[in-house]
Symmetry: C2
Subunit: 469 residues, 2 copies
C-alpha cells in the first residue's frame, strides 16, 4: 500500500471537543522515542523509551520549559496495538489549547497529522483486521440502537467475515475443479459431472442472494427503520406520533451526545431504531390515488419498511380498506409492511369496534389496530406490532446480515457472475469462458474482506472514518 | 464532608460525544472488583482484581453474554489516582449506545452516576489537591489562550497556593504575637512594638491588595480581554475588525471543538485572547456625550480593558481629540486603555499624516495609530499596541495573579479585616478586639486554598465542574 509509508508517525485527537479528558493517539515506529522528547515521567526512575507494551505512565508534557499539561501516557509495542504498530495514547485535559499545543509540538518533532481513518487503515494494512472488520469500526462508533450495535459488533469480531470466507472457500473449491478441466482442456475431459456442478453453483448463488437480500433489513437497522405515517389530515397522525415518542425522549436525553441533527423523529423500541417520516395530505379512498400521485410521497412510501396507515373509527370498513389498498398499490412489492391504525376508537362503542374488526379482517390483508390518541389507548399494541414487523428473528444470526452498501454491491456482482456461469452450463459455453466468470465471482467476494481490493476502493473506505480512528 | 460517602463508587463519561474513543471513569473503593464482574481480559491469564496500579488491560465488556465492546481498562490503586481512591478508566468506542450500556450495567452493579465535579471533589477531600488547585482543573480545561492556560497551569501546580500559604504564614506569625499578648493581657504587657506591628500589617495588606488588584487582569485573561470598538458609523470599524480577525479564523478552525457560542468576535494575539465588542452609533465631538448616554454603551466602555476609538484621517485633530475625551470621560478611572485609530490614512498625504500626528500628540493623551483598512495598512501596529496595552510583564509571575472571583472576594475580605486591625492600632482599641480581626483575616485567606471552608462553599465550587471531572 503506497498510502502508508514505513516509519511515518501519525497523530490525531481521538476524542472530540468538550468533556474533561481528551485522548491523542500517536502511531508509527519511533512513536515512544519521539514522545520521550517532550514527556517527563512523574517518577524519574522511569525511562519511557524502555517501557513495555501496555504500560501506563503519569507525567508532564512540556516544550522548551513551557509546561503544557499533566498527562497519562499509554505505551503499546508492535504488533500488540490497535494499528499493529508502536503506539502511544496521551490522555490530557480536554482543553482545546492543550490538545492544540500537544499536536503542535508533536508536529515539530516530525509527527504528521493523521488522515481520517488512517489508524484503522494501518490496522488493516498490518493484518490486525480484515476490511469488513475495519468497516465495522466506523459502524460500531455510529451505532445508536441495540440491533445496529449487535450487527456492527458481530462484524467487528469477524462473524460476517467468517461467513464470507466460508462462501469464498466453496467458490475456490469449485473454481479449482474448473481450472483443472482447463489444464486438461486439450484432452476434452470433463472431470466433474456438469449436473452436480450446476447444483453446487445454484447452492452458492442461493446463499449469496440470501445474503444480498438481507441488505434491506441490515441497512434499515443500521440507519434506522423507516416508518412512514400516512392518512388524511386530522385523523390524529401527529398525536399518535407524539404518544409513541413520549417515553423515548426521556430515554434519549440522558445520554450525552445522542441528539441527532435530523428533522425526522426517532424512536427506540425493542433494541431497534425507528425513523418516523410524515407524509402530509394523503386521503383515503381508492379513487384518490391521483391525489397521492406526487412522486415524493410515492418514493417515501416505497422506501418505507413499515407504513402506518391512519384512519378514523368513524370511517366505514370500505374506506379503510380502500386506504390500505391505495397504499399497497404504491408500495407494490417493495417489501414495505402495512399496519392500519384506526384512531379515535373512543368515539365508537365496543360493539362497533368488534364489528369493524370482523369486517376489516375479511377485506383488508394487513393487521388493523384500534387506538385512541386522545385517551392514550392501544399504543402498546402499536409498539409491539412495529417490532413484530421487523424480522428480528434474523438478528439471531447477525453474521448473515449485510449492512454495508459496498458489500451489497459486491454480492450482487458475485450473483451476476454466478448467473453467467449457470447460463454457460446450460448453453454449453466453453469451459475457458466459464472459468473467467468463476474467477470474477471470487474476485468480487474477496472485495468484501479485502483479500483482493484495489487501492482506490481502500482510500474511499477509510476516508469516511473520523479523524483519530 | 457529608457529600462523599465511604465506599460509594461513582462513574461518569469523561469525554463528550463524538470522536473515535470515549472514556468512562469509575472511582471508589471496590471499583476494580465491580468492573471484574463485567470485564473479561483478552489474556485469560490476567486477573484484573489482582492488577497493580497503573496497569493497562485489554478485554471485552459484556453483560449476560451480550457483547458490548472491546475496551482498554486502566487500573489505579489508592492513593495513586486522580481522586486518591481506587479507580478504573474504561476506554471504549465512542458510540452513544456503548457508553450508555456500559454506564447502565455499572449502575446495575451498584455504581452511582457522578455529580459534576465529583471526581475532583474527591481528589480535594482525599488531600490530592487544595481548593485553589481543584478550581484550576476547571480553568485549565476551559483555557483557550496561552496566557489563560499559563495562569491555570501555575495554579494547578500549586504556584498560587504557595503564594497564598506564604501570606497566610506571615499572618499566622503575626496572629501568634497578638494571641500571646492576650494570654498575658491581665499583666498589660505589650510584647511587640506597636509601631513594628503596624509596619508588618501594612506590608501584608499591601501584598493582599496587590493580589486583589491583579484580578482585573487575571479575570480578563481567563475570560478574554474585552476590547470595545467605538466611533461614529462608517469610519470603518467592521473593516478594521475583519482585517484584525483575518488570520485568526484560519488558526482557530483547525482545532476541533474551539468554536464558541458567543456573538462576540475573538482574536488570539501574543498568547492572549481578545474579545471584540462592537458599539454602534458613537459619534465624535465633545458635545455628543448625550448621544452615547445609553447606559448599555457606557457600561460596555467601563468594562473594557481596551477601547479602540476609530476616527477618519479627514477629521480635524480637535474632533479626534474630542472623541478620545468623550470616551475618557465615560471610562473614567475604570482602568480601560484608550487607543485612537485614525482610519482611511490612504485618503490624506504623508505630509498631512505627519502633521496630524504632531497635533494629536499635544492634545490627546493616548496613542494614535494611522491605519487604512481598505489598503490593509498599519494593522500590524494595531496588533502590537493591543498586546502592549495588557501588562503582560505581570504574567512572568503567574502565581501572583488572581483569576477567580471567589479568591478575589476572599482577598477583599482579608484586606478589610487588616484595615480594621490598622484602625484599631491607630485608635488604641483593646488587643482582644484586634485579635478578632486578625483571626478573621486568616479565616478569609484560608478559604482560598480550602484550609477553612464551609460545606456550602465547597458544594458551590464543584457544581460548576463538568461531569466526569
Amino acid at each position: 500500500m503506497n498510502q502508508v509509508q514505513k516509519g511515518k508517525i501519525i497523530c490525531a485527537p481521538a476524542t472530540s471537543g468538550g468533556g474533561a479528558i481528551a485522548l491523542i493517539r500517536v502511531s508509527g515506529q519511533g512513536a515512544v522515542e519521539t514522545l520521550s522528547e517532550i514527556f517527563q515521567p512523574a517518577d524519574n526512575q522511569i525511562d519511557i523509551t524502555k517501557a513495555k507494551g501496555y504500560s501506563l505512565i503519569l507525567g508532564t508534557i512540556s516544550s522548551h520549559d513551557e509546561f503544557i499539561d499533566q498527562v497519562l501516557v499509554s505505551v503499546f509495542r508492535a504488533p500488540h496495538s490497535y494499528t499493529g504498530e508502536e503506539m502511544v495514547e496521551i490522555s490530557c485535559h480536554a482543553s482545546p489549547f492543550i490538545q492544540h499545543r500537544i499536536i503542535e509540538i508533536l508536529i515539530e518533532k516530525g509527527v504528521e497529522t493523521a488522515a481520517p481513518g488512517e489508524f484503522t487503515m494501518r490496522a488493516f494494512m498490518n493484518g490486525k483486521m480484515d476490511l469488513s472488520q475495519a468497516e465495522a469500526v466506523a459502524d460500531i462508533i455510529a451505532a445508536d440502537s441495540e440491533a445496529a450495535h449487535r450487527l456492527a459488533a458481530s462484524q467487528l469480531r469477524g462473524g460476517f467475515s467468517a461467513g464470507i470466507e466460508k462462501l469464498r472457500h466453496e467458490l475456490v473449491t469449485f473454481a479449482s475443479l474448473i481450472e483443472l478441466e482447463l489444464d486438461f482442456s486439450e484432452e476434452d475431459v470433463q472431470f466433474a459431472n456438469r449436473f452436480a456442478m450446476t447444483e453446487t453453483v445454484i447452492k452458492i448463488k442461493d446463499m449469496v442472494d440470501r445474503l444480498a437480500s438481507s441488505f434491506r433489513l441490515g441497512n434499515a437497522i443500521r440507519k434506522g427503520i423507516p416508518v412512514v405515517i400516512a392518512g388524511r389530515p386530522n385523523v390524529g397522525k401527529s398525536s399518535l406520533l407524539n404518544l409513541l415518542l413520549q417515553e423515548e425522549r426521556a430515554i434519549v436525553s440522558d445520554i450525552p451526545g445522542t441528539t441527532r441533527d435530523t428533522i425526522e423523529e426517532v424512536l427506540h423500541l425493542g433494541g431497534l431504531l425507528f425513523r418516523f417520516i410524515d407524509t402530509a395530505g394523503l386521503r383515503e379512498g381508492g379513487d384518490e390515488i391521483e391525489e397521492l400521485g406526487m412522486e415524493r410521497t410515492r418514493s417515501k412510501l416505497r422506501a418505507a419498511e413499515v407504513v402506518l396507515a391512519v384512519a378514523e373509527a368513524t370511517d366505514t370498513d370500505e374506506s379503510i380498506a380502500a386506504l390500505a389498498a391505495s397504499i399497497g398499490e404504491i408500495t407494490g412489492n417493495s417489501g414495505a409492511r402495512l399496519i392500519v391504525l384506526v384512531n379515535k376508537s373512543d368515539l365508537i362503542t365496543r360493539k362497533r369496534i368488534a364489528e369493524l374488526k370482523r369486517e376489516l379482517k375479511d377485506i383488508c390483508p394487513c393487521p388493523a389496530l384500534f387506538v385512541s390518541a386522545s385517551q392514550s389507548e392501544g399504543i402498546e399494541q402499536v409498539r409491539k406490532q412495529l417490532i413484530a414487523s421487523v424480522e428480528t428473528g434474523k438478528l439471531d444470526n447477525p453474521q448473515y446480515i449485510v449492512t454495508n452498501a459496498r458489500h451489497y454491491e459486491a454480492l450482487k456482482n458475485v450473483s451476476d457472475s454466478l448467473r453467467r456461469v449457470l447460463d454457460g452450463f446450460r448453453d454449453g459455453i466453453p469451459t475457458v469462458l466459464i472459468a473467467t466468470d468463476v474467477r470474477q465471482s471470487i474476485y468480487y467476494l474477496g472485495q468484501i474482506t479485502g483479500r483482493i481490493t484495489p487501492d482506490d476502493i481502500l482510500g474511499e473506505i477509510f476516508s469516511k472514518f473520523c479523524i483519530g480512528k
